[in-house]
């Protein structure tokens, strides 16, 4: 790959996209917001950001004709980063509203059990279960910003995909990876210098992919 890598950021709602645009631009990527399959053409990586519930997101992906192209992208193992809800959509389904999601990773999205406060809002530590280049230059246990009430639970048949976990009344998976497909439950675009570093590492990984 030569020049600035092009990242397609899926836009399926009315949330804040300024932060992800700024963060990715800062780490050297060209950002295109996509609402239909044409936008994926020529992209080097796809990011699905987002907050909120799974079903409205899936409905909007369906309406934009993006669900099957995204599945094909993921089945091909092409570079992908799911942020927050975007990570949850990688699982088979969500208990939040019964939505059937992309089903790329075996497991379900469930409400955080025993959480002292919900939503889980604020900075919390991301503790590694194994090393990965996504964490280059970031200390183990570094703080990232979370905003969610649900999180994906990886099924044993998915294999060794968990990269890190976080504690909020019990541990949940906060980072997962299967090849070039990555998911983070927190918001790197709102997590200060460490968040930018993580996104820079993602850009480096997709260049190498």
């Amino acid at each position: 790959m030569t020049g600035r890598p092009r990242i397609a950021v899926v836009d399926y709602g009315a949330g804040n996209l300024v932060s992800i645009d700024q963060a990715l631009t800062t780490v050297g990527a060209d950002v295109t917001f996509v609402q239909d399959p044409d936008g994926l053409r020529g992209a080097d990586a796809v990011i699905v950001p987002g907050v909120g519930a799974a079903q409205p997101a899936m409905t909007r992906l369906d309406a934009g004709g993006l669900t099957e192209p995204l599945r094909a992208w993921l089945d091909a193992g092409r570079p992908f980063l799911g942020i927050c809800l975007g990570m949850q959509l990688l699982f088979e389904g969500s208990d939040e509203d019964g939505a059937t999601t992309l089903g790329v990773v075996a497991g379900r999205t469930v409400r955080l059990p025993n959480a002292p406060t919900l939503p889980h809002i604020g900075w919390n530590q991301v503790e590694r279960t194994r090393s990965h280049p996504l964490f280059d230059g970031i200390e183990d246990g570094a703080d990232f910003y979370f905003v969610h009430s649900y999180a994906g639970v990886v099924d044993a048949v998915a294999g060794d995909v968990v990269l890190a976990s976080t504690d909020h009344g019990g541990r949940f998976t906060s980072v997962l990876a299967r090849g070039s497909i990555l998911g983070v439950q927190f918001h790197p675009e709102r997590s200060g210098p460490d968040g930018l570093r993580l996104l820079a590492n993602f850009v480096d990984l997709m260049r190498a992919a």
């Binding site: 804040n16 909120g52 809002i121 900075w123 703080d143 905003v147 969610h148 009430s149």
Partner: protein, 258 residues
Amino acid sequence: MLRRRVITCLDVADGRVVKGTRFVDLVDEGDPAELAERYAAEGADELVFLDISAAPERRGTLLDIVERTARRASIPLTVGGGVRSVSEMRDVLRAGADKVSLNTAAVADPDLVRDCAARFGRQAVVVAIDARMTASGAWEVVVKGGREATGLDAVAWAMRAVDLGAGEILVTSIDRDGTGSGFDTALLRAVTSRVQVPVIASGGAAGPDDFVAAVRDGGADAVLAASVFHRRIHAIADVKAAMAAAGLSVRLTREAVA
């Protein structure tokens, strides 16, 4: 473990940060995006813009500073003041805010909380409650910057707001606001013991010990202050150091540690 947050509040009027005594004698303190970036570097966990101009013709100015701030400070930004509809909330989020804080508008139209939460998720909806202690020792909701009483019980309103879809409750003691006499920890405890969502304490911060008390005695998940930081009476790092020394879990940034 989830960190207790220290949040910096900036009062914004007509595109500038201002500070006065409860909406009067406003003094220009600078550019919002510039100050926001500085606080982020100094270790603020979140930023709140309270738009106290909030006149409809000023919306463009507000959206502009929200976008400039979101591009300069990579920590979460909440915007309060003047959002009265789902479409106004959409505009503020699209400009780069992560959350919107509803106060007077939510009291006037509780369905607004439900509609905003349904559209953008409850995590994006903060309900701000200004409370004043009554003769009977309870707390009453006041609106319009504390000028108008509502007869609503503050704790009951907090519970209802959560039922409607609020993802966080920002509790300001009007009795303590601007007095430097410490957060009203009894009010905070009354609210935090009745809701599961995070509660942000506001009104009355003077020294680092007050922030410790808001969390330890009041049960607050986050503490918000304005003038303590603007006037550089205390640095954010000093407040966090005091919280850490008291055994509270806080995020110590590299800048703050250095």
